[in-house]
Subunit: 395 residues, 2 copies
């Protein structure tokens, strides 16, 4: 595999409202040291991808509002590596913009698109999985989305169904693929099937690429339990691998309007005229996700069942679940004196001391001008409550 | 009664450690707006006494460390009205210093000594009670300490026993005064018994002054319950009334060493030499409370059973108990959004928003570099915990 054709686009335009009050509109989750390790999530994500390709092949796509934060967190990037969206139009226009720009740089560009605010505990497995995917997309006209092996019947994720390919789209019933689906097996189904050796000389397994049968919306609990039991369903992690050629072809077929608008700037990408073109054209694109616009309509969609310690860290509770805990089940970020505190997450600014007593299953976040003390089990209410805050400067 | 002879000395040297983290060594309780009303406790205390005498007759006794804070909170005071102790020697030397200084100003000085950090809800009743006491001390060689009618068997206060005067000092048994003690009755026992009209023309009751039979240490709960049931016991509030003449005579008799040391400066009080004398002499005085040194030994000690909405606000729990509460039993000082929060006290700095869920019976205090989230029922543990804090800058 030619590493020089490998590119990464890190999506960093989200506002991460579920990590309020740590995340704010002006400083969303990806720019926070949400794990308390001394580095922001975007910095951790960037450094993780340095195992896959050189820094100059890593691009960041973000909202214009956050361009300064991106430069602050990733000072090694040139301005041309930071794509700024003038408006929030969901992921399909944003991915298309990236594809056009990289296609103009390198027509053989083979691209990983990934969120900026997830954690991955097993970095080497992650890199090997991406290398398998890139090897596959380098040789096939294929759109790959990684599928995380589910560990629980989570109702917060969309699911990827693998199997026969005969998906009953829109059916509420869980379905079983034809015969026994070999999720996670080494037998590629529809994949390239070639054994290879990774860039760093470590032998990687036979490509485990599988055809996607269908995408499933966030299920209710009963459905999620059926998904988990069947073994044919994976979590949709929003990590994509494709050549820009394949992707732009898919846009032409399935998202023609976006393709038309952004293709008009073909001569301007990577020139001083790029930003002016984007500022004018981008806001006119339809606001739609890449999943709806492309993945659910294309028939060359594949997945790799993956296990590399992934979490989207979507909520404080998931951060608590993914973090190392003390013997009382607490995750304490900062100077905390805890007495009879259990199963809680505490996050303090530098220099602050907290003395806490008797909290069980709580989130305690003291951040700037907001203090949150909230039961972990009722986390889903926080979003509603932030909606009730009249002074929007707290958001 | 000659109002020109009336003086007030407000004791403001304490450190109020039980209101940590709001109170700190560098800014103790009396300098805080602990009620959330926009004024510090010392300011409220000062303004309350303006109903009794002019500002120029009000003196503050404080530790040298807090002289600047006193001036900041009471800018109308002259430097001569602020007595600064160079060392913490408990209340007996501090009261004696005040007495010598006022005696030098006005040999007929008739003095109220009161803490700076209590609350009194019924100001008019309070002032009338003091006027009764001052009228009594003006005409009698008497030491008066106000006694608060107990409303519960509190184990946190010392008690004043009234009755026959035959006190079994040191006996653990509760005792009943001779016959039916008429606590709170209008019949003065050992008092002046004269009917009078207060300064402001409001008729005040016949002096209810009663002889003190004994002082009782903080009791255990069973004893406190006996005290409450007997009707012969009052809380010792630390509010004293006496002429400086009577008081200095009592020091001469019962606290000779303190009297000797501070009498040596008789010619220096209210002169430029006062502070230098005090700085040298004061630290050599024995450290003892005025209760132990004088009140428990003198035989001319009287009390007035009083009810004027008093609280010493000794703890966060007592602040919660004394404050107006919302329908959920909460006292919320600051911008608090509370969901399912009950029976709690929340105190935030200006500009901070707290979103709190599910706390029942909690103290939440966010103050500078410390956050306290603690069960109200376990408040007595806070003192121990602050002792465990290694970085003393948090105290």
């Amino acid at each position: 595999m030619n590493n020089q054709n490998t590119y990464v686009a890190i999506m960093a335009g989200g506002i991460g409202s579920r990590f309020w009050p740590a995340s704010r509109t002006a400083r969303p989750k990806q720019f926070l040291d949400i794990l308390g390790v001394g580095k922001s999530l975007i910095r951790l994500t960037f450094e993780r991808f340095l195992n896959l390709c050189p820094a100059e092949n890593i691009f960041i796509v973000t909202n214009k509002q956050y361009a300064g934060l991106v430069k602050e967190h990733l000072p090694e990037l040139s301005d041309n590596q930071i794509l700024t969206e003038p408006s929030r139009n969901n992921t399909a226009p944003c991915v298309a913009y990236t594809a056009f720009k990289l296609q103009a740089l390198n027509p053989e560009a083979n691209l990983v698109v990934a969120p900026s605010d997830h954690i991955i505990l097993q970095e080497q497995k992650f890199v090997h999985t991406l290398e398998s995917a890139l090897a596959f997309t380098a040789e096939n006209d294929a759109l790959v989305t990684l599928g995380i092996q589910p560990s629980r019947p989570d109702t917060g994720y969309g699911y990827i169904e693998v199997g026969s390919g005969k998906a009953e789209v829109g059916s509420g019933k869980a379905e079983v693929g034809s015969g026994k689906a070999e999720v996670g097996s080494r037998k590629a189904e529809g994949g390239s099937g070639k054994a290879e050796v990774g860039e760093n000389g470590v032998a990687v397994s036979v490509s485990p690429v599988q055809k996607v049968a269908a995408f499933r919306e966030k299920p209710d609990l009963a459905t999620a339990e059926q998904y988990l039991a069947s073994g044919n369903y994976l979590w949709n992690a929003g990590i994509f691998i494709w050549r820009t050629q394949s992707l732009l072809k898919a846009y032409q077929q399935h998202a023609h309007e976006i393709h038309r608008i952004l293709a008009a700037g073909a001569s301007k990408y990577n020139t001083p005229e790029e930003q002016a073109f984007i500022d004018e054209a981008y806001p006119t694109t339809p606001s739609i996700s890449v999943d709806y616009a492309i993945m659910e309509n294309a028939d060359n969609v594949y997945t790799i069942p993956s296990e590399f310690g992934w979490s989207d860290l979507g909520t404080w509770a998931s951060l608590h679940a993914e973090s190392d805990k003390d013997e009382a089940g607490n995750v304490l970020q900062g100077a905390v004196m805890a007495y009879g505190v259990k199963d809680s997450l505490v996050r303090l600014p530098k220099g602050k001391l907290a003395v806490l007593g008797g909290l069980d299953g709580y989130i305690v976040v003291d951040e700037g001008d907001v203090l949150l003390v909230w039961p972990k089990s009722r986390e889903q209410e926080i979003k509603k409550i932030t909606g009730e805050i009249e002074d929007k400067s707290y958001l």
